[in-house]
């Protein structure tokens, strides 16, 4: 199943991200894989090490976990490892039993959508807003030292501008505040944006970094979650700043954003200035169509539908993967991966079958 020995080469992926033609072989791309998936691929458990701002970190345990996580990215055939930022903002979370069967994480954590931690100005004033000085970069430092030849780090932000606004306020509260208390929305947007800018500036210059990846879910099934008017006001300008910092360090900027974003793609490409777009669903727009529509202007990443990967047999996954590769790989500017993440409920054999089809692709030789 697995390249033996692995031959990571970040230049291969970079060629895709910069749309400089066909790479030597089809690169793989993933924002992250859930812990039970990574563990199953390397055949060893990987401890989950809490990593949130202000919480003391057990460095030895963190290093132990990252040795294994690094092995996962290398052995599965990626040219990079994503290293996530610490959890930055305290959120209103709830947990219930995971439904993923044998690959269960025990509990599944959900963000409360009705109320967040900031509902009004009192909450805003009381909230302990973190600063960049509070951040711990040990994992980035450690992984940079351990990077195998050819591999680089893609830094993964702590959620995006809209996401953190939504999670801090709760989607319902944010919705009402957009109309009734725009000054509060503006204040939260500024706090979140300044923090993201601080993080981006601190990370982009670090050794081993090959690209910067912002996750900022802005859409759902039928369109953007909030109107483009508000996105232009509170979200795009901050995202653009992150792109500028990234580009000042000569790095590519990847955007992971779920949902139906067809009406704002032009603004994301030309206005915000993203280099690559990640996250696709077949029920919204199959990735092959996205590649045809925007592939001349932006790299298109992943896109194999999570629902299909979960509910199909291995043979069906292989046939589906081949079909998507045939549509998306020609000309380059695309890398193989899921439409969201390797969620723990995707059967591991299906995930590995997808990668295996990618390895067998002969279109670039």
């Amino acid at each position: 199943m697995i390249h033996n020995p692995p031959t990571p080469d970040f230049a291969r992926l970079e060629k895709v991200l910069r749309r400089q033609g066909q790479p030597d072989r089809l690169p793989f791309v993933e924002l992250f894989a859930d812990n039970p998936i990574m563990a199953a691929v390397i055949g060893e458990p990987i401890p989950v090490i809490p990593n949130a701002i202000g919480v003391p970190i057990d460095y030895a345990a963190q290093e132990y976990a990252f040795d294994r996580i690094l092995r996962f990215w290398l052995e599965a055939g990626y040219d990079y490892i994503t290293v996530p930022c610490q959890l930055v903002f305290l959120l209103n979370r709830q947990e219930i039993k995971d439904t993923a069967g044998e690959q269960s994480k025990g509990n599944r954590a959900w963000v409360n959508e009705a109320t967040g931690v900031i509902a009004n100005w009192d909450d805003f004033e009381r909230y302990r807003w973190p600063t960049v000085a509070d951040l711990d970069f040990h994992s980035l430092e450690y992984v940079a030292k351990r990077l195998p030849e050819g591999m680089k780090i893609i830094f993964m932000g702590p959620g995006g501008q809209l996401e953190n606004m939504m999670w801090l306020m709760g989607m319902m509260n944010l919705s009402f505040a957009l109309r009734e208390d725009p000054a509060l929305v503006e204040a939260v947007a500024t706090k979140v944006g300044e923090m993201l800018v601080g993080i981006w500036s601190a990370v982009a210059e670090r050794p081993g970094i090959g690209a910067m990846w912002l996750g900022d879910d802005m859409g759902f099934k039928s369109g953007p979650l909030i109107s483009p008017k508000y996105l232009r006001q509170y979200v795009f300008p901050w995202q653009k700043k992150l792109v500028e910092i990234t580009h000042a360090h000569h790095l590519p900027f990847l955007l992971h954003s779920c949902g139906n974003l067809q009406t704002i793609m032009d603004e994301l490409i030309d206005g915000v200035g993203i280099d690559a777009k990640h996250s696709f669903e077949d029920v919204i727009l199959p990735v092959a169509e996205a590649k045809a529509r925007w592939g001349q202007r932006v790299a298109i990443l992943g896109g194999l539908d999570v629902d299909t990967l979960t509910r199909s047999t291995e043979d069906e996954v292989r046939a589906y993967t081949r079909k998507v590769i045939e549509a998306c790989a020609p000309g380059g500017g695309w890398a193989l991966g899921t439409g969201n993440s390797v969620a723990n409920y995707i059967p591991v054999r299906n995930y590995l079958a997808m990668l295996d089809e990618g390895r067998q692709y002969q279109g670039y030789v």
Binding site: W110, E113, F176, E281, V283, T310, R311, Y345
Partner: protein
Amino acid sequence: MTLEQIFQNVVEGEMAAVEAGVRSALEQGIPADRILNEALIQAMAKVGRLFEEGEIFVPEMLFAARAMQTGLKLLKPALAATDVQSAGKVAIGTVQGDLHDIGKNLVVMMLEGAGFEVEDLGTDVPPEKFVQAVQNGAQVIGMSALLTTTMASMLKTMEALRAAGVREHVKVVIGGAPVTDAYARKIGADAYAADASVATRIVRQLIA
């Protein structure tokens, strides 16, 4: 204030204006069912169309729904007195294992805005609770899920409805990010709706 103005204020989500408008309409002696049907329900139908067409988004829909609910609350006593029938009884919940509720909430609001009597079963709803809702008289069950892994609870609920012998007495409609028409057919549900506005039309057809 005219019914036309109440209609417009609901569409624009002007809660205070809707409240004042409904009060004054009642004082003028306009029958509650006319205010409901010609102002509130018509307005929410328009809101649904605007949402479907991508003219308005989740926040605007929440605003309109809140304004509508404020008006509806004022009408309730009068409606009860005049023995006006609701459009039907619907129970909706997010299935077991899943805590995502904005999508479900929007469907609840739109159905209320279309004149249905809606029981909101909440999130992480086990199959038995759906069965109970049918036993309590729900004519339609609505199930919502965010992820493929929790969507599987929809099938479990279908099985529980059959096992309890109530499947024949109820129509089932499903929705949520990964849910499709094909999945509805696969698990033997009666219908799928892609958004909260379409959901109201589908539910109306199911009961007709």
